[in-house]
Symmetry: C2
Subunit: 282 residues, 2 copies
């Protein structure tokens, strides 16, 4: 996430948006950021892990395939490409979440689109926002079998532990994105010989519904899907960036059209009228 | 602004904050960011303008003096140092303005302090937020004399033009910071042989009060002060960053102590229930 935040900030410094802020240019920059995310991640992955400076051009015609190609050094299968597309579309936009709202607050000041996206990436990097799919996999990997998972989760729920990846601030009965992700994940897991991980994830889903009436959010099965495509866990949230840039930048354009600055007022609730003490006497 | 945004983002990537997010570490990082801002700006200034890579260590014991020293290549006068201190203190914190609010939204997700400050810098870069002191100087430099300024401003007000630098979303009768800035600015302008620019600024202030009952915000005389200290206009907003990092980071710490995510909900007001059209038919 630090690499994407810094990378897009640097791109914005070197090739800044015009101060006219036309919608056409903003859309072009948004497209180019979507295209560049996979290259930034793929380049960083190889350079950071083995010092190798890869070429970032491929002949793939989608950003999902391009990313997988750079990551693994070979064209992804049709199934993987399809799964990436579905995942990117499902993560693309989601109303006034914290990173989108960050982008809108920045856009409200008249700042450039790179400042907005840089801020949004920072917000998404927080564990209360974008980090959930990484933690989902950690939980799932704790268990060798679905039965083991069921026994342990029941015990944790009894002990009033929070199981991360369940519940959502907006949805109340289910995350509608989950239905689509689940079908694709099953297919991916079977193809990768990882049915077991899928079974663990599915069993925890049933148990959580049975005992807590809680449903997994979109990150829960996405984690299994990404793992089946051999995507390292620290790229889960950056992939979320790759998808969400479309939503963020659409909101930036909308906020610009609205033309308002977002600037709440605060109510001061601290002590009043304290005597002034010169600094050398403090 | 792009350089500061990218610089702090990169520093956060190379020397990240611990995930424990203790207040003590956050305060240390805040101090170090305050100290580094002048070095980032000074280094960039010389490198961008003449390709010279300067040393960024000085023996100054304040961030204001350090910045002026790097910018001009010599220790600032006692008067300049005092003026910088006053200016930095006055700009340090200002409630829930858009950049501070941006930092709080990012902090609310549990993100690191560099993500928060990077986002705040982006917000401050917007012309509706941090850019006012740059524009103030532009307006003031239009006039050779105070009389010329008065005549033109009266005409513009009659034509219902907006004079930037006047009025404030929070203050209603005056900007209390202005009183302090004005006295120091007079002293700086006289020492620099720039009484004329001060007189122009002061005359516009009187005219705006007389005809519109509007008062200048803190940026109005700050612009004259910075100009007297030979600070190029494109560093006015970056200096604002140098000051405001203290306020931003204090808010980040407060938001973390509060522990809440900031995530408004939106009311959808667009069209409902449109028929689905496959993409190839659109």
């Amino acid at each position: 996430m630090d690499v994407l935040r810094t990378g897009f900030s640097a791109i914005g410094a070197v090739t800044p948006e015009s101060t006219t802020h036309t919608e056409a240019e903003a859309r072009d920059i948004a497209d180019s950021m979507l295209a560049k995310t996979g290259s930034l991640l793929g380049y960083w992955h190889h350079f950071a892990n083995s010092g190798k400076r890869i070429e970032v051009e491929t002949d793939d015609d989608s950003i999902g395939a391009h990313f997988l190609h750079l990551l693994h050094g070979e064209k992804p299968s049709a199934l993987w490409e399809k799964a990436m597309h579905a995942s990117l579309v499902l993560y693309a936009e989601h109303e006034f979440n914290a990173s989108t709202f960050t982008g809108r607050v920045i856009a409200g000041t008249g700042a450039d689109i790179y400042s907005c996206v840089t801020g949004s990436i920072g917000a998404l990097s927080g564990p209360k926002h974008g980090g959930a799919n990484e933690v989902a996999l950690e939980i799932q990997l704790r268990y060798a079998t679905a039965d083991q998972a069921e026994a342990d989760i029941r015990k944790r729920v009894e002990n009033k532990e929070v199981v991360i990846g369940f519940g959502h601030p907006v949805y109340t009965v289910s995350d509608p994105r989950n239905e689509i992700v689940k079908v694709l994940t099953k297919e991916l897991a079977t193809a990768a010989g990882k049915d077991n991980l899928y079974d663990v994830a599915e069993r925890i889903e049933s148990v959580m519904w049975e005992v807590k009436k809680m449903f997994p959010n979109v990150d829960w099965f996405s984690a299994v899907a990404y793992d089946a495509m051999k995507i390292p866990v620290n790229y889960f949230t950056p992939l979320f960036v790759m998808a969400r840039i479309s939503g963020w930048t659409a909101h930036v354009i909308e906020q610009r059209n609205d033309g308002k600055i977002i600037r709440p007022t605060a109510t001061y609730v601290g002590p009043e009228d304290r005597p002034y003490l010169p600094i050398e006497k403090r």
